[in-house]
């Protein structure tokens, strides 16, 4: 087993998960300027909903995931309507605190419904396969393929469709969007919907290789913030690239530098990059 290729694959897998989470975050952060700390909670709920459907009604993994995407997307919409919409004229720090309030609530809520314990998600893709000398489970291959497909679809959506460009337009001038006849409320809801859906996909894909528990969102949210800043706020390619950079840094850093300090490496990297390029790697905002 070649350790380097194996670790590259591992890095790719983690990077895929990071990228998916970061994408949802970057949409909401970059477009609606809401630093949604509750995004981690959406991620957590995505995993729980898929899991519950599979356990309770024996729904197939993919169908469960699809339902989860819808439900979490809707939850994102509700969050927007109830909390962020009323706050749209407040400075971003307010969104931050409100999001923390939501996060606390959703975690307590998950604990109430599902208990505080760890759960495991079994998928039909547990088999171990040998991939060019690397060991992987089908699930891991799936994470990588799934992530890439989702990213391509999202990119096409934003770049090639009118509805997609309304999202971008609104990011740049909300009132301007009004003036050309865009219903900005709908766009905001759409953005939250997509963001929640992406979180659910990320969680449903990655839960089988980890565990499901109320605090699972913490694992990724902080890193997702690092990624979107690294990649330039609101930049879709930036979030993807940032996710993979972080994934590889972690897997290779843990292997060749230090396992204990690998998190510091990732954060230091961001600090260094921002010190040199104060506006992130993709300094031009937008797409």
């Amino acid at each position: 087993m070649d350790i380097l290729t194996q670790q590259l694959f591992n890095g790719l897998t983690i990077g895929s998960v990071y990228s998916l989470v970061a994408l949802g975050l970057t949409l909401v952060y970059g477009i609606l300027h809401i630093p949604n700390f509750a995004h981690g909670a959406l991620y957590m709920l995505g995993a729980y909903i898929t899991l519950t459907l599979m356990l309770l009604w024996g729904v197939h993994y993919w169908i469960a995931m699809a339902v989860s995407v819808l439900v979490v997307g809707l939850l994102g919409v509700i969050m927007d309507r109830l909390v962020f919409h009323p706050l749209r004229n407040a400075p971003p720090i307010h969104d931050k605190i409100a999001a923390i309030g939501i996060l606390l609530f959703l975690e307590a809520f998950a604990q109430l419904i599902w208990g505080a314990d760890y759960r495991t998600m079994e998928t039909p893709y547990g088999q171990v396969i040998d991939l060019f000398g690397m060991t992987a489970t089908m699930q891991r291959v799936l994470i990588n393929i799934g992530a890439i497909v989702v990213m391509i679809l999202l990119f096409l959506f934003l770049k090639k469709t009118y509805i997609g460009s309304t999202i971008i337009a609104m990011a740049q001038n909300r009132e301007g969007a009004h003036l050309v006849g865009i219903n900005t409320n709908k766009v905001a809801m759409l953005t939250f919907m997509i963001s929640g859906g992406l979180a659910a996909i990320a969680a449903s894909l990655s839960a089988p290789i980890n565990l499901v528990f109320p605090g699972m969102g913490h694992l990724v949210i902080l890193k997702a913030f690092v990624i979107i800043i690294l990649g330039g706020m609101g930049s879709v390619p930036g979030a993807i690239l940032g996710g993979y950079i972080l994934g590889f840094t972690e897997s290779l850093g843990a292997t060749y530098l230090s396992n204990d300090y690998k998190d510091i490496i990732a954060f230091l990297m961001l600090v260094v990059i921002l010190s040199i390029k104060p506006k992130g790697l993709f300094s031009r905002e937008g797409f």
Partner: protein
């Protein structure tokens, strides 16, 4: 700004209440909670000067709080230094590290600054967590002494610690008050409003921002050092992100960029979260939405809401006065209009 000045009476009221409280109630638990709240308030004031008056939201302040706490802890426990010397050194070391961080961090702006400092804070936390040989790692640092006596005054009892920390809080408020109500304070506000404009009226923005950053880390360090000698045990979790979120919550609920905000917000949230204790596991179920609602309905915090309310009632009075005058005015324009049209 004018309305800020009027808050003097408010502050004197607070001071009196705080000084008299132990005479009214001997409840040690209340005393403990209040003392702890005072410590948070000091840290929140540091954050307020930076975020509220220059507009730079630092998420690294839990880290600086921890640096202050650990410096005091290590200097007293491991180096056996006198408490007061350690306290001074803790504050200055925190500010020194703050200066270095600020020098680089302040080149970024807005969201980038927030996330940059979030990362710095996290790195500080990780270093404390991983640097076993110095900080004791996850195990933490025990046996931190209480403040040593100054002449005849000893700080062993909870009551004396209460007054000591209250003293530091009042010192903080005084310093803040004087900074805010000075040219220096105006300079900071100018930076918050527009850095470009501030520069063209001759203000060196970098120098001033750095100054604010250093002062604010100084107070974070002071709060941390006091925390260490009050709880007398510290672990890496005091540098964790949750602490900065708590501090921010206190600040926002109270009212960012106001002088009384830190006191009001901290006091309110600490008491609310203590009184929700009976809910145990589910207190976040209530506290979370409560926090969110507060932010939605009082976006400028409690103090800000009070100001707005005052302004409004003042404006109403003014309008009532004006209306009488404008009535006369409109009448005359109306006749004029007729003339013009006619």
């Amino acid at each position: 700004m004018g309305s800020l000045l009027k808050k003097r009476g408010w502050i004197i009221g607070f001071i009196l209440a705080a000084i008299l409280f132990p005479f009214v109630s001997q409840n040690e638990y209340f005393l403990h909670i209040l003392t702890l709240a005072f410590i948070w308030m000091i840290a929140v004031y540091g954050l307020n000067l930076l975020a509220g008056y220059t507009g730079y939201l630092s998420l690294a302040h839990a880290g600086f709080f921890a640096i202050g706490a650990y410096t005091l802890g290590l200097l007293t426990v491991k180096a056996g230094l006198n408490y007061w010397i350690a306290l001074v050194l803790a504050c200055f070391l925190t500010s020194a590290i703050g200066a270095v961080v600020g020098l680089v961090a302040l080149r970024t702006r807005e969201h980038f600054f927030a996330i940059y400092t979030l990362c710095v804070g996290y790195i500080i936390y990780l270093v404390i967590d991983k640097w076993d040989s110095l900080t004791g790692g996850v195990r933490g640092l025990i046996g931190i002494p209480a403040p040593t006596s100054v002449g005849p005054i000893s700080f062993q009892t909870p009551l004396s610690q209460y007054y000591l920390i209250l003293f530091f809080l009042l010192f903080t408020v005084l310093v803040m008050y004087r900074i805010i109500h000075s040219l220096t304070g105006r300079t900071f506000i100018a930076i918050r409003n527009s850095e470009d404009l501030a520069q063209t009226i001759g203000i060196s923005t970098m120098k001033n921002k750095l100054l604010v950053f250093v002062i604010s880390t100084f107070f974070a360090g002071l709060a941390g050092a006091l925390y260490a000698s009050f709880i007398r045990f510290i672990g890496p979790d005091i540098g964790y992100i949750t602490i900065i979120f708590d501090l921010l919550t206190y600040l926002l609920v109270g009212g960012i960029g106001t002088l009384a905000g830190p006191i009001v917000g901290t006091f309110l949230i600490v008491t609310v979260s203590q009184s929700l204790q009976f809910l145990q596991d589910y207190r976040m179920l209530i506290f979370g939405p409560l926090l969110t609602l507060l932010i939605i309905f009082y976006p400028r915090g409690i103090v800000g809401a009070y100001h707005d309310w005052r302004m409004k009632s003042l404006a109403k009075k003014k309008q009532q006065l004006n209306r009488k005058q404008t009535y006369v005015h409109t009448q005359s324009t109306e006749t004029e209009k007729k003339i013009k049209e006619g």
